[in-house]
């Protein structure tokens, strides 16, 4: 097939009548055998974890092609497009679509992130979408969050006073200086999406007893709040073998937080505070 072009260039003839048209010619528009034949468009393949509780089958990975030219830029846009156009049974949590509610937390290409804030990566590689790691799965990408919420409740995330009547209508508001309020920056913004907690290998192995980075950072948020009066009790409550001290400073939490917060550092501060009370 390729000898044709050598003939024509060496003889210098405009020998279009002598030229053999081969099916490997680029002008005809066939792909060479090394390329996959794909439909027209900028296609990316999403490999998504699926499991149906009503079928007696093991979890599996389903592959969905998405035309990125007809899709929004975020992974959540692609998931909604797949659910609308290809597979309505695909199940996932979502709400605000702007990274503030924490519903769409999942594992995308190996890292925990919010699907509504995670850009679809450029390039030809497939995107792997899995649920948050080491969680019991209710269906597809939906994990059981009840233990996470129960652990959050257990640290008493509210202002506690020694005498509740000390700040009533008669005695006035809880006053707080700007410097004291600044101590809460970087902690109050947590949306409890559980990306950090489910990225922690210690939480994978001891999740029923270890509180995890999200809950511990909120515990520190209340320890650091100058208006709270039961700081000593809060610190004592964490001082046992599992609640706090399963943290080994692996720092997966801070790396993966989609809001840019730093639970690992907060936990180190708690450890330092407790060490000072001993």
């Amino acid at each position: 097939m390729y000898s044709v072009s050598r003939l024509s260039s060496s003889s210098g003839l405009k020998a279009s009548s002598m030229m053999l048209k081969t099916s490997a010619s680029k002008t005809v528009g066939y792909m060479s055998t090394s390329e996959k034949s794909k439909p027209i468009g900028n296609i990316k393949y999403f490999k998504i974890y699926r499991w149906d509780p009503e079928k007696k089958q093991k979890p599996y990975v389903a592959t969905y092609p998405v035309n990125l030219d007809e899709c929004g830029p975020m992974v959540l846009d692609a998931l909604i497009k797949i659910k609308n156009e290809q597979d309505p049974t695909l199940t996932f949590r979502r709400s605000c679509r702007e990274g503030i509610c924490g519903s769409c937390a999942m594992n995308i290409d190996g890292g925990n992130n919010l699907a509504c804030l995670c850009y679809i990566s450029k390039g030809a590689a497939d995107i792997k979408v899995n649920p948050l790691p080491h969680m019991y799965i209710l269906k597809d990408l939906v994990p059981d969050m009840t233990n996470f919420y129960a652990q959050y409740k257990s640290i008493k995330p509210w202002l506690q006073l020694k005498d509740p009547s000390s700040h009533d209508l008669e005695h006035g508001e809880h006053l707080q200086s700007k410097d004291d309020r600044k101590k809460l920056d970087g902690m109050y913004e947590c949306i409890l999406c559980a990306c950090c907690t489910t990225s922690c290998p210690s939480y994978w192995w001891a999740g029923e007893k270890y509180l995890g980075p999200a809950v511990l950072m909120q515990a520190y948020r209340w320890i650091e709040d100058s208006r709270d009066e039961l700081t000593k009790e809060r610190l004592e409550d964490l001082d046992d073998a599992f609640k706090l001290y399963r943290c080994h400073t692996i720092m997966n939490c801070t790396k993966t937080c989609p809001k840019g917060l730093n639970p690992g550092k907060a936990i180190a501060h708690i450890k330092k505070r407790i060490a000072q009370t001993h």
């Binding site: 899995n130 290998p201 029923e208």
Partner: protein, 144 residues
């Protein structure tokens, strides 16, 4: 005030939740097979692995010495062999050097939690892994 590390609080709620889920037949989502571990996590698990290696190695050497084997000359004999020697010496020097350096980093983090920022811990992890490997390689080829 609770000071004992072996204080066990009431974990019944968490454990009951785990029991219910285990019985329900729900699968656990994949973790080590799917998570893209950052270099800091690699440096952390290497610290644990070298710790286990050191514990096993020292226990093994001690037990051998207890039953009367001449451990020092045995180890020197292996160390003097042509190809296996440097490899064996590396398998001793790397756990010692890495675990010591990683533990120093833990002490630093305990005293200065401000050092726990993404960029700083990433840089320290690369430095730790690379520096320990290089230093261990040096010790693996020289003879003291």
């Amino acid at each position: 005030m609770k000071t004992c590390l072996y204080n066990f609080s009431n974990y019944s709620e968490g454990e009951a939740w785990k029991e219910r889920n285990e019985k329900s037949g729900r699968p656990t989502s994949p973790h080590v097979t799917t998570y893209a571990f950052p270099v800091t996590a690699i440096s952390s698990i290497t610290n644990r692995a070298t710790g286990i290696a050191l514990t096993g190695g020292i226990t093994g050497i001690s037990l051998l010495a207890l039953v009367g084997a001449d451990v020092t000359s045995f180890m020197q004999c292996i160390g003097n062999m042509s190809v296996i020697g440097p490899l064996a010496k590396f398998s001793v020097s790397f756990p010692l050097i890495y675990h010591y350096a990683a533990s120093m980093r833990h002490f630093a983090w305990d005293k200065y939690p401000e050092m726990l920022e993404n960029e700083k811990v990433e840089q320290s992890s690369y430095a730790l892994l690379g520096g320990s490997a290089a230093l261990s390689a040096v010790f693996a080829v020289i003879s003291i």
